[in-house]
Symmetry: C2
Subunit: 191 residues, 2 copies
DNA sequence: GTCTATAGGTGGATAGAC
DNA sequence: GTCTATCCACCTATAGAC
């Protein structure tokens, strides 16, 4: 029924993940699908609607990564898995990570308005993980919000520096850097 | 003598700081200066040369901020002032910060090739501050490079989240967040 | 050094035939 | 639903007159 719509969406996502939002033009998407640019307007109102659909799916994907961390059997395990999920998403979908967290495209803002504030829901998820760690005695009692910001900033900073090439590291080396750096941060947060 | 060149550079910098690299077009610069776009080619080879000049000045400005931190009278004071200088630069020249550290424009790469690696020299500066703190007994003995990455990632992460609006904080509130978050990190790094 | 005129490219979007 | 033809906006850059 809307199979054409799906094919267009896939082509857009592929172009987007390969070259970012600027690689997505009505012409490039159309060429990849095998139709002319004008045909796309039968399925999407305009380019912005196309980008919003792809980025919205990216938000959902990120949410899925985080959600899996809830499988952990203890508060500290769930927090640890959250950090791992964050890293996995960033390394497996770097262009999506860049768009959502590093260079907010106008379409990202539009997504937040229609689907609710994704970025702040990420923050609230982390605050919940931190709070339950404090209640379980795995983290020293402190303001959960402040500690959550410190953790988020830390993982986001590490990932950003890696993705822009500032660390000059390969992915396996960076994974180790990520682990050790979080250990250093938690050395000051642990109970 | 090269007064025209200076006026062009100023106009470019103003446009750049207001709207980023994409706000800089030969037409917009020319309009701001009060000439036609073609006149600019008498003073700069092309648009890229124009951007490189502005971004190169941004790098120098950032270096100046860091350099002032060396006025501190002790190792730990110099490290503290470095963190403050980093924050000041990011908040006073957000668009320049964004360009240099968050969304490496092709012109940034070009600057690094001609003027030397600025990003890695920032890292080395920080490693030096960390190392002298360890030697002075102000930081626990550890790998200086790993600790420097942790600190850099932390400050960069905080600043990035603020500049993208993810924290939802005002600047004065964020300055306090920045201070407290660094305190939390150093709680695990202090001797 | 600055102008006008112009070439040449990219990209979003619509009209109307099929 | 998809096509061709087309418009419009905006961009970098050059040639040659003044």
């Amino acid at each position: 029924m809307t199979e054409a719509r799906t094919r267009i969406l896939n082509a857009t996502r592929e172009l987007f993940l390969a070259g970012g939002a600027e690689a997505v033009t009505m012409r490039s998407v159309a060429e990849r699908v095998g139709v002319t640019a004008t045909a796309l307007y039968r399925h999407f109102e305009n380019k912005d609607a196309l980008l919003r659909a792809v980025i919205g799916a990216g938000f959902e994907s990120f949410g899925g990564y985080l959600y899996r961390a809830l499988r952990g059997s203890s508060a500290s395990e769930r927090l640890r898995l959250s950090g791992q999920a964050y890293l996995d998403f960033a390394l497996e979908q770097p262009e999506m990570y860049r768009t959502i967290f590093m260079a907010p495209h106008p379409a990202v803002v539009a997504c937040e308005e229609t689907d609710g504030p994704h970025q702040s829901s990420t923050f609230h998820f982390l605050v919940d993980r931190v709070r339950e760690c404090m209640q379980a005695g795995a983290l020293r009692a402190d303001e959960p919000e402040g500690v959550a910001i410190a953790i988020w900033a830390h993982v986001h900073g590490l990932v950003s520096l890696f993705l822009t090439g500032a660390t000059g590291q390969t992915e396996p080396v960076f994974r180790e850097t990520y682990r050790r750096s979080l250990d250093r941060l938690f050395a000051g947060l642990d109970a």
